[in-house]
């Protein structure tokens, strides 16, 4: 049973959403640590560009497109849950978002497979170490988001816990924003 504490809103914002913002704050510093380390090394070593040139911009761009679109379906799910009180529709849209995450991961897997088979492994060069680490941490967030969304969608389809559609959406958009920065950092900057 939910404690009374959970229902209070002294800070002017529902508790669960407040917690999600704090989670994102802690995620910012985790990704910030990785990206700051990467940026320092990258800016100090212009020769890494030769390695970065081997990344496939088109795959990265396609994945950006997929994530942006899945963010759209996530925000539409939120809209459906909050303004239309339509749990079923929200669940369907969340399903689409999960599908987007799935496509993203499949493409990513294909991309990594190709790169590794061409000898660009995590050990071969610091650039690739950062490339796989940063994208790998991001991908693990995508997976976590998909699992969370599956649970939320299951409840939402029954009309339960509709506010969670928004929470998982905020998280998903954050993952999207991280990718928006990873894309130019890893793919475009040559």
């Amino acid at each position: 049973m939910r404690p009374i504490a959970n229902t209070r809103t002294a800070a002017g914002i529902p508790t669960a959403r407040l917690a999600v913002w704090w989670v994102l704050a802690s995620e910012i510093v985790i990704f910030g640590g990785v990206l700051a380390s990467y940026l320092m090394q990258r800016m100090g070593n212009p020769d890494w560009a030769a390695e970065a040139a081997a990344t496939n911009v088109w795959i990265g761009a396609f994945n950006t497109f997929v994530l942006l679109t899945s963010s759209l379906s996530a925000v539409l799910a939120h809209h459906a849950a909050e303004h239309e009180q339509d749990g079923k529709k929200a669940a369907r849209l969340l399903g689409l978002t999960i599908l987007g995450g799935g496509i993203f991961l499949c493409v990513k897997g294909f991309e990594w497979y190709t790169e590794i088979s061409h000898g660009m492994t995590i050990q071969s060069h610091p650039f690739w170490s950062f490339y796989y680490t940063a994208a790998g941490i991001h991908a693990s967030h995508v997976i976590a988001g998909m699992i969370l969304m599956a649970f939320v969608a299951k409840d939402a389809a029954k009309g339960l816990e509709l506010h969670r559609v928004e929470l998982v959406g905020i998280y998903w958009h954050f993952v999207d924003v991280v990718w928006i920065f990873l894309f130019p950092l890893l793919y475009i900057a040559k």
Binding site: A25, G33, L35, Q41, G44, N45, L72, V177, I180
Partner: protein
Amino acid sequence: MADHGTQYYVKIWGILLVLLVISIFGPFLEIPAVTLITAFGIAFVKAYLVVKNFMHMNVQPAYVGYMLSTCLVFMLLLFAGSAPDVMKKDGDNWVKTVVVVQGPATMHHGEENSGDEHGGAELH
């Protein structure tokens, strides 16, 4: 929560896609300044659009924005404090010596001694 229609979100999504296309084709001009702006400037614009419209930052209490931007500022601090050592190749009374070893992943971890080549070389 501000009530935007479905149309509104689709419109934002459209803008994001247009920006994505620009950021992909910007580097094809091969002008560094343009690449920088189209790649990173647009990333910031895209992030702003997503945060504001999809995450509804605009209707959260102000402190939410402050706390997230404080975390970002701390990351800038980390960068500013560490970059003089990590990014630079040399500095006041110190210089990095090891050349980056290029090539495929044939090296095994720890098999080679990091300082051996240059340490030995300098003894000649």
